[in-house]
């Protein structure tokens, strides 16, 4: 069995799960081990890519992370609170503009956010087209099932909101080093202990991912045939058990290392952020946009009659 390469598989980004293998010769269902490995590889590569993009020369990259967190969060709330479709689309347009100005390739956004979220949401919203009570708008050609206006509207709301939300959160992560996001959180009122825990968790996620990957790869290389069913389950459980034991041991060692450098239970961070003029301007712009979109969202627009 060969190692999993990105080009060999299609991944549903919204769930980060593997859909099907894209082998050149013939399609073969991946075993659960291969899927797990693929998921791990994907996640890691995504994170690395995000770290690179966060240092690019774009609009959002140059802003203070606190401004970004606040601003993007406000926009997210606007999209969530909107009671009409045009407002949601406006927020999406703003997000798109920010992405373009921050040198985020649209292809990345499409692959990582839009496609997966769309497929997933469309699937969920499909029945709503038919079963939502309301005025019938049209009928399906062959089956004759009626689609209601309200159903269509509600499906549109859902898809629009999901896409916008996903774009905004992805923007934050792609344009800000995650360590800055964490530090921004602490300046915004989240207790320092949570921020420190989040930081340490994120750091050790990669170590454990690497360990898990090695375990699965070594098992994969020693096995002929699929690792499915009870064998696959036992392997997963045993891997989890091994990781559990290692985690426990690691946590003890890390504690010693922390103590060795003076840790007594209090956590401190160095706050490095200073607001410059452009940060204040950006903040003002965000606030203005947020208020405007909020006001717009609360007004009732008559849904376009189909």
């Amino acid at each position: 069995m060969k190692a999993i390469h990105k080009r060999d598989i299609a991944v549903d980004e919204s769930e980060s799960r593997v859909l099907l293998p894209r082998t050149r010769r013939r399609r073969r269902r991946l075993s659960s081990v291969e899927r797990t490995l693929a998921t791990i590889v994907w996640r890691t590569e995504r994170a690395f890519y995000a770290e690179e993009l966060a240092r690019a020369d774009g609009l959002l990259q140059h802003l203070d992370p606190r401004v970004k967190v606040c601003g993007l969060l406000l926009l997210l709330l606007d999209a969530a609170l909107a009671r009409n479709l045009p407002t949601i689309i406006c927020v999406f347009a703003v997000a798109l503009a920010l992405a373009l100005l921050s040198r985020v390739p649209l292809r990345t956004l499409a692959a990582r956010a839009w496609l997966g979220a769309f497929l997933f949401t469309a699937l969920i919203a499909l029945p709503a087209l038919f079963i939502t009570p309301g005025r019938a708008a049209m009928r399906l050609p062959l089956l004759g099932w009626p689609l209601t206006e309200q159903g269509i509207q509600s499906a549109l709301y859902l898809v629009a909101r999901v896409e916008t939300a996903v774009t905004l959160s992805l923007l934050l992560v792609l344009c800000t080093p995650w360590t800055h996001v964490l530090k921004a959180l602490s300046s915004l009122g989240v207790p320092v202990v949570f921020v420190v825990i989040l930081g340490m968790t994120y750091r050790y996620v990669f170590l454990l991912l690497q360990t898990a990957r090695e375990m699965f790869e070594s098992r994969q290389s020693r096995t002929v045939g699929a690792l499915d069913g009870p064998t696959g389950r036992r392997l997963a459980a045993a891997s989890a058990g091994v990781l559990l034991a290692r985690t426990f041991q690691l946590s003890g060692e890390v504690y010693l290392a922390m103590q060795s450098r003076g840790f007594r239970g209090e956590v401190y961070t160095l706050d490095d952020f200073q607001m410059r003029r452009r940060d204040w301007l950006a903040l003002a712009a965000f606030l203005l946009a947020a208020v405007a979109l909020f006001w717009l969202g609360r007004r009732g627009f008559a849904p376009p009659s189909i």
Binding site: G199, R203, S260, G262
Partner: protein, 270 residues
Amino acid sequence: MPEIVFDVRDVVYRYEDVTALDGLTLKVGRGERVALVGANGSGKSTLLRLLDGLYFAERGSVAFCGEQLTEAGFQDDEFARAFRRRVGLVFQNPDVQLFNPTVFDEVAFGPLQMRWPKDEIRRRVAASLELMEVAHLKDRPPHRLSGGEKKRVALASVLVLDPEVLLLDEPTAALDPASRSRVIDLLVDARGGAKTVVTATHDLDVIEDIADRCLVFAEGRIVAEGTPSDILRDEALLRRTSLIHAHRHVHGPGTVHAHPHTHSHRTHEH
């Protein structure tokens, strides 16, 4: 007579039902460079942790500059903080020691715990990063570092506190040759500004460079003591304590030798 930095007397330490240290006694004087030599599991790491006040002996005593190291003693904030600054331990596994999100944060961790003023922290961190030649990595997360880089960051994070005593647990383990020699160079030249160095290692190649006095460990006890060259010459001892091996290797076509040796960078005799 030089001041005694560490005074260890009849120390016993057990993990569950395994005895790691069995009545150990030793003294380390100020300015000494000591190497603790022994195979894995011989108790070297355990001793280092006892010296660093992370473990506390079941029986016996460990004293640092005349003060006993006890669990109760470390409850006192002032004592603990002072001790942690004066003694620094570099762990064997750098992933254990690098628990902060970035290299900069890691090196700043110690000074932050010492409650130094922020400007001074920034200054000292920058200096330490320069010293260990990792300044260009300051915003990297630990999982994006190579083994050698991790080791240097770990060293930087301890040296930033400017400790009087440096404890090193297998500083050259798992490093490629280039990184290894770099670390040794840094330790030999700078000595990190620390005056007393205790190194635990099973890497016999380096002990001559980094130590003046050598203690050989086996099964939780010290079985021999001397200068590195003395110890290296005592083949029987080294074989007994699993520090060397005998194996066959090839010296050109048709010539195969089998003898005990230490894979030294110096050529070995036949």
